[in-house]
């Protein structure tokens, strides 16, 4: 079973306790009326869908109940890091860069 680290529980727990909640760091426009139809469509529906590291929201729904963010590799399904909601996306690509 996949194990996920909850940054609030500070514990690594079974995937069954968690729910996926879409891409992370998507800010709702402060004034929706100022948005063009295209901008509003992009906010609502257009997601990055990368191959590789993806910043996404998860919720520890059957545990502490909190939403948090994770960097997960969409190819290997490996979680690189999880972090509390509201924190910026960790610059993992830079952090793990190996000199050639």
């Amino acid at each position: 079973m996949l194990l996920i680290h909850c940054p609030y529980c500070v514990d690594t727990l079974p995937e069954l306790e968690f729910a996926y909640a879409g891409e992370a760091h998507i800010a709702r426009p402060a004034n929706p009326m100022s948005q063009s139809d295209e901008e509003w469509r992009d906010f609502l529906f257009i997601r990055s869908n990368p191959r590789g590291l993806h910043a996404e929201r998860w919720r520890h729904i059957h545990g502490c109940g909190r939403f948090f963010n994770a960097l997960r590799d969409t190819v290997s399904d490996k979680f690189s890091v999880t972090y509390k909601a509201g924190r910026p996306r960790p610059d993992l690509e830079k952090a793990v860069q190996v000199p050639k």
Binding site: Y8, C9, L13, P14, L16, H62, C64, G65, R66
Partner: protein, 176 residues
């Protein structure tokens, strides 16, 4: 003839008598006020528990606690918290009748729970509690000692959880 097995030497399962259960949501900064109101130091870390006399508290989330007390004290606890609400905003919800508590005790208690509990129970210390799943039902699992657990389960999920435990018990009793 075919009465369900509820207990044998290695493990037994029993539904516990009613208890006052309360769910407290309060800012961690106000924990001292809540502790003074409830009469025991509420634990600050998720999972930790604290008991004093016949009252107990477990931290379930960053700002969420489960409180247990004797049934007769429920009204007094609600009144005590209401008295501090004006200066210390919080939510206190009585959930006594929402749940049943099932006790699972005996040397094979941990093994019996592993039938439907995904947690690594070896890592769960006595005195702690966690919200988790039992099969598909959300429960609060309390570990009182190495050989003693309690499952707090919503009434509507109780028949399912109870049936699973009964089946597992009978399998254990048969030596499966």
């Amino acid at each position: 003839m075919n009465a369900p097995v509820k207990s044998f030497a290695a493990v037994s399962v029993a539904v516990l008598p009613p208890v006052a259960r309360l769910n407290l949501r309060i800012a961690p900064a106000d924990l001292d006020t809540a502790s003074a109101t409830f009469g025991l130091p509420l634990p600050g870390k998720i999972g930790q528990g604290q008991a004093k006399g016949d009252r107990a508290a477990w931290c379930l989330g960053p700002d969420e606690w489960l409180l247990h007390a004797p049934e007769v004290e429920q009204a007094a606890i609600v009144a005590d918290f209401a008295a501090v609400r004006a200066l210390t905003p919080h939510s206190l919800t009585v959930i006594s009748d929402r749940e049943f508590t099932i006790a699972i005790t005996g040397p094979s208690a941990q093994e019996l729970l592993s039938v439907a509990c995904p947690l690594d129970l070896l890592r769960m210390a006595p005195g702690t509690a966690k919200r988790t799943l039992f099969d598909s039902a959300q429960v609060v699992l309390i570990r009182d000692s190495d050989d003693a657990f309690r499952i707090e389960v919503w009434r509507s999920f109780f028949p399912h959880v109870s049936e699973l435990l009964d089946i597992a018990l009978r399998e254990f009793a048969c030596g499966l």
